[in-house]
């Protein structure tokens, strides 16, 4: 490929942050090229570092290791040729629509007369004519994001970075805005040379991108790149489109591995640790019931997103939880319930608790915590102790979240209990809740 074509290059980029004793990779060894005329999306589960990567590319964040080159030049500091559209719009609430666009031009040092004319022209182009004097709080989400786009276009960026720009919008506004952006882009009405979009909406990625970069978490890394060989305008119901969506889901959902690989190892033991997916058992039960209602107890994962009205991120967490507990297996973008999963889906509340308890007890993280609890004298454990131990294997916030998930699952299955007032885990004495009330009385008696 000719060197002039390449707009941006990431060369072996790592983002490491130290937490406690050992370093964690937010991004591990990412090498990526962005060429002129390309629309690329980054997809992946939350926590895979896709937003961090976007910040590295714009120069908002410096990578721990590796190089970012823009048109062959090593990037230092903010990339003057790139700009961002933010998920939460990042408009200044005390400035009017016009002033919000104007201020971007002011930072570039344009004289006032030129600025106003240009800002008005941009607002006109995104269809915000007549709203110049309005404050952002008076606008709908979709219109606010239009201001975000106008402001980004104001600085004539060669590289337009979009950080989940449509995910805070309602469905209709998001659809409309996607269409308008694609029109501007494909018709060459904007001087932008390339677009890089972060999204967790897989359908959106397939709808817009020329190339999809798929990332995975723990550590955050690029697993594969999929070109999207579909001509614009794309039709969401077209077989080729659906096949593409299916492929991305298949890549992200992966393949169910043998149990010991799927579960990982316990803290303190050698081997890869697996974090518990962030979901509730109640959600998981609903998910299994839905799959059980399908012929053959199996389904295309990508279809489930639409049917269950959950975003792809949440859906993937659910499939991961189902795999982890042995309720389902995933192959090639399809999910199928195991016999245990079928039983779980059809069981009543108490039986579900039983089934879950036996499965959750086997998870290395839970097994580890239960063993620690058993070993203590009073069958109780301070939360801080568990947190410190977990921080050897996970970053601090992840460790906190993992403990919260364990508490949630443990309470559901009555495997363990947690006293929030005193930050204490303890083992649930069988079928006896009176001590909880007593504990409540005790703490209320304290000053």
């Amino acid at each position: 490929m000719a060197p002039t074509e390449e707009l941006l290059t990431l060369d072996r980029v790592h983002q490491v942050y130290a937490s406690g004793e050992r370093p964690f990779f937010a991004i591990q060894d990412v090498t990526l090229a962005l060429r002129e005329g390309e629309f690329v999306t980054l997809v992946g589960p939350s926590g895979c570092g896709k937003s961090t990567l976007l910040r590295i590319i714009t120069g908002l964040q410096r990578p721990s290791e590796g190089q970012v080159r823009y048109r062959g030049q090593v990037l230092r500091g903010i990339n003057p040729h790139a700009t961002i559209v933010f998920q939460t719009f990042a408009l200044f609430p005390w400035l009017t629509v016009l002033e919000n666009v104007d201020v971007a031009l002011k930072a570039r040092g344009l004289p006032p007369a030129l600025r106003t004319a240009r800002a008005l022209d941009l607002l006109d182009r995104v269809g915000l004519d007549g709203f110049e004097g309005a404050y952002p709080r008076e606008l709908s989400g979709g219109m606010r994001q239009k201001v975000g786009f106008a402001r980004a276009m104001a600085v004539d960026p060669e590289l337009l970075c979009l950080d989940e720009p449509f995910s805070a919008l309602d469905v209709l506004s998001a659809d409309a805005l996607r269409g308008e952006l694609l029109e501007l882009w494909t018709a060459g009405k904007i001087p932008t040379r390339a677009i890089l979009m972060v999204t967790h909406n897989i359908e959106e990625a397939v709808f817009m991108a020329d190339r999809i970069v798929v990332m995975q978490k723990d550590p955050g890394r690029v697993v594969t790149e999929l070109p999207v060989p579909l001509a614009h305008p794309r039709h969401r119901k077209a077989p080729a489109f659906l096949e593409m969506v299916d492929r991305v889901y298949a890549t992200l959902a992966g393949q169910t591995q043998p149990e010991h690989v799927e579960m990982g190892s316990a803290p303190g033991e050698p081997g890869l640790k697996r974090a518990l997916p962030d979901t509730t058992i109640t959600d998981l039960a609903g998910f299994c019931e839905h799959v059980a209602a399908k012929p053959g107890d199996r389904a295309d994962i990508y279809r489930l997103a639409e049917e269950l009205r959950v975003d792809s991120d949440h859906l993937l967490r659910l499939t991961e939880a189902a795999e982890l507990l042995g309720f389902a297996t995933v192959t090639g973008g399809d999910i199928a319930l195991t016999p245990l999963g079928e039983t779980f889906a059809e069981a009543g509340i108490l039986a579900r608790k039983e089934i879950c308890a036996t499965r959750i007890r086997r998870l290395p993280l839970v097994r580890w915590l239960l063993a620690m609890l058993q070993a203590t004298h009073e069958k109780r454990l301070e939360r801080g102790v568990a947190q410190t131990a977990l921080e050897l294997d996970f970053p601090a916030e992840v460790a906190t979240r993992q403990l919260e998930i364990i508490v949630n699952w443990g309470r559901y299955t009555e495997l363990l209990a947690y006293d929030d007032t005193r930050d204490l885990f303890y083992l649930e004495p069988a079928g006896n809740a009176s001590h909880l009330l007593a504990a409540g009385e005790r703490t209320r008696g304290e000053p």
């Binding site: 910040r55 714009t58 908002l60 964040q61 410096r62 230092r76 500091g77 903010i78 003057p80 790139a82 700009t83 961002i84 933010f86 998920q87 939460t88 719009f89 990042a90 200044f92 609430p93 005390w94 400035l95 201020v103 971007a104 002011k106 930072a107 570039r108 040092g109 006032p112 404050y135 952002p136 709080r137 008076e138 402001r151 600085v155 007032t421 000053p447």
Partner: protein, 575 residues
């Protein structure tokens, strides 16, 4: 004054663990006090106060003088606040020193510094100038900390995406300050200014009437006018003085603070329009006035544009997020730190050397004084709680009652307690208990409003559905208080009580010893110890008593209030 806005909004204590830095700060304060005491050795033995005239015609003049002192101190506070907060928020290393400093200074009883500052300044400057300066410094120290803390907190809580946007669009420092940082902090700065002024009046009045033995440190102003009037038993002069004070405070509220609050409402971050935004007739009038519109268009806007353009080119565009300090800066910092440590150690040793000259009896006296003052503070708090909780809950849960009580309460609260102290003395000196009773009453007057406003805010924040639930459950009155009202009130009560106890300790300095009607009234307490030492020029005693009070209050805050606060916030905050 209509809407149910709280007059005092109390800055929440920093949720920070006490560190070694706190100890360093306290040592630093000790060294500073010691330096002041050393300077004070040269202070004249007798200081003649000003002649205060009670003629009605002098009131505008006195009011103007008081107002000027407040303005000077406020300007000084703002000048201090902006760079200090900026440095603390921007520089990680500076933050480690500046934050504990701010934290301790916020909880120290400022008024206890007054004697040392007065004595040391009169030693080196002409008397009248020194006394003026001392008053301004005192008001400054009462105003600056919460403003600085508000600014620091705003700077560190700017939403990440707004910071990133201003970086990605390569805002110059000046542009970032004017479009992001100042607007984001505006609301909090204005609110804290209102609070600072309310507190400032308290200290100004105290400074204007401060006088011990042959040293008359009084200043011509409204405070001194009231004191002189009470001293001479001139009832009409008292009425005139109080009316003038209330007039000045209400005028400021209407012409400065309300317009500012109404104007600053546009800087709210919420993306939703507020329910009832603050309004101001004066701001509305200004907005309609042609002259103002002309001045804005023809003078103000072009001037601002010129300034903008000039500063934008002056300050270069940033290339990096966050600063990197070079090796030179690092070494400079270390050298500075080393020098500071040397000064601290040397000064600390000298201070200790002075303190050990005190006989044991003097220390016992200080300890006894602390205990007694503590009891007075506690009594004032209990008394304040006893009447503010029932009334506050009644006001907070009944909008009808609030509508007519609230304005009265706000006017009553706006009068600084220290201004009324001489009048109080006039009333109680003949009663048994005398100044002792007056001291507790002064503390009560200085503290009750903090509590009342917090209780009202807390009571009106109790969700209606919870109140309905307790009614549906047919809980008895006591159970309703126990399960709903008191827990819901607790965070507010604690916040109010922390500020109130700080105010009460402050008040002790002027409350336990007073010169009144030509004679000295004194009771036993730490405030009286400080005052007596000032009168007698006993500098070791002065240093010991001041330090003891500071350490006691800081410890009380650290060991008691902070824990109670954390408990209340964690367990009882209704989200």
């Amino acid at each position: 004054m209509s809407s149910a806005r709280p007059l005092f909004r109390v800055a929440s204590p920093i949720r920070r663990q006490a560190t070694w830095a706190d100890a360093v700060v306290v040592v630093g304060l000790a060294v500073l006090l010691y330096a002041g005491v050393r300077l004070a050795l040269g202070a004249p033995a007798a200081i003649r106060g000003p002649e205060i005239s009670l003629a009605p015609g002098t009131l505008p003049w006195y009011a103007g003088l008081s107002l000027l002192r407040m303005l000077a101190a406020y300007a000084l506070s703002l000048l201090f606040t902006l760079p200090y907060g900026y440095l603390a928020a921007r520089n990680r290393r500076a933050e480690h020193i500046l934050l504990p400093l701010l934290d301790v200074l916020q909880s120290v009883p400022i008024l206890s510094f007054l004697p040392v500052v007065l004595l040391s300044l009169t030693a080196v400057l002409p008397e009248r100038l020194a006394v003026e300066l001392a008053a301004i410094v005192l008001i400054f120290t009462s105003q600056a900390w919460n403003l600085t803390f508000a600014w620091y907190q705003s700077l560190t809580t700017i939403p990440k995406e707004l910071r990133e946007a201003s970086a990605a669009f390569r805002f110059q420092p000046w542009l970032r300050l004017t479009t992001l940082e100042l607007p984001f902090a505006a609301l909090s700065l204005v609110w804290n200014s209102v609070m600072s002024w309310a507190g400032g009046w308290f200290f100004l009045m105290a400074a204007e009437i401060f006088s011990v033995g042959h040293r008359d440190f009084r200043l011509p102003g409204l405070g001194a006018y009231l004191q002189e009037a009470a001293s001479q038993g001139d009832g009409w002069a008292i009425v005139r003085g109080v009316a003038a004070l209330v007039f000045v405070i209400v005028l400021l509220d209407q012409l400065a603070w309300r317009p500012l609050l109404a104007w600053a409402d546009r800087f709210k971050l919420e993306m939703l329009a507020g329910e009832n935004p603050p309004t101001s007739w004066f701001l509305d009038a200004l907005r309609k006035a042609r002259l103002v519109a002309w001045a804005r268009g023809a003078v103000w806007a072009p001037l601002l544009a010129r300034l903008d353009a000039w500063l934008l080119t002056r300050l270069p565009s940033p290339t990096h997020l966050g600063e990197q300090s070079g090796a030179a800066a690092r070494w400079g910092g270390r050298a500075l730190g080393g020098a500071a440590a040397l000064v601290l150690v040397y000064g600390g040793l000298r201070a200790v050397a002075l303190l050990v000259t005190l006989p044991l009896a003097a220390w016992a006296d200080i300890a006894g004084g602390l205990a007694l003052t503590f009891l007075r503070v506690a009594a004032a708090l209990v008394l304040a709680l006893a009447w503010t909780v029932p009334l506050g809950v009644a006001i907070g849960s009944s909008p009808r009652l609030a509508a007519w009580v609230q304005p009265l309460v706000q006017i009553a609260a706006s009068v600084p307690a220290t201004a009324l102290f001489p009048i109080l003395l006039l009333g109680v000196t003949r009663l048994p208990g005398g100044i002792n009773l007056a001291a507790v009453l002064l503390m009560l007057m200085g503290t009750q409003w903090y509590l009342l406003f917090n209780v009202i805010a807390g009571a009106s924040a109790i969700p209606q559905d919870l109140k309905l639930t307790t009614a549906l459950l047919r809980l008895s009155r006591w159970d309703r208080w126990r399960t709903l009202i008191l827990p819901a009130l607790l965070p507010f009560l604690v916040t109010g009580a922390i500020t109130a106890s700080g105010g009460a300790w402050n008040a002790s300095v002027v409350a336990e010893h007073a010169e009144f009607g030509g004679r000295s009234l004194s009771t036993y307490g730490i405030g009286a110890s400080i005052a007596r030492a000032t009168a007698a020029g006993d500098y070791a005693q002065l240093l010991a008593a001041t330090l003891a009070m500071i350490v006691a209050v800081v410890l009380l805050n650290r060991l008691v209030w902070r824990r109670v606060y954390r408990y209340a916030e964690d367990r009882c905050r209704l989200e």
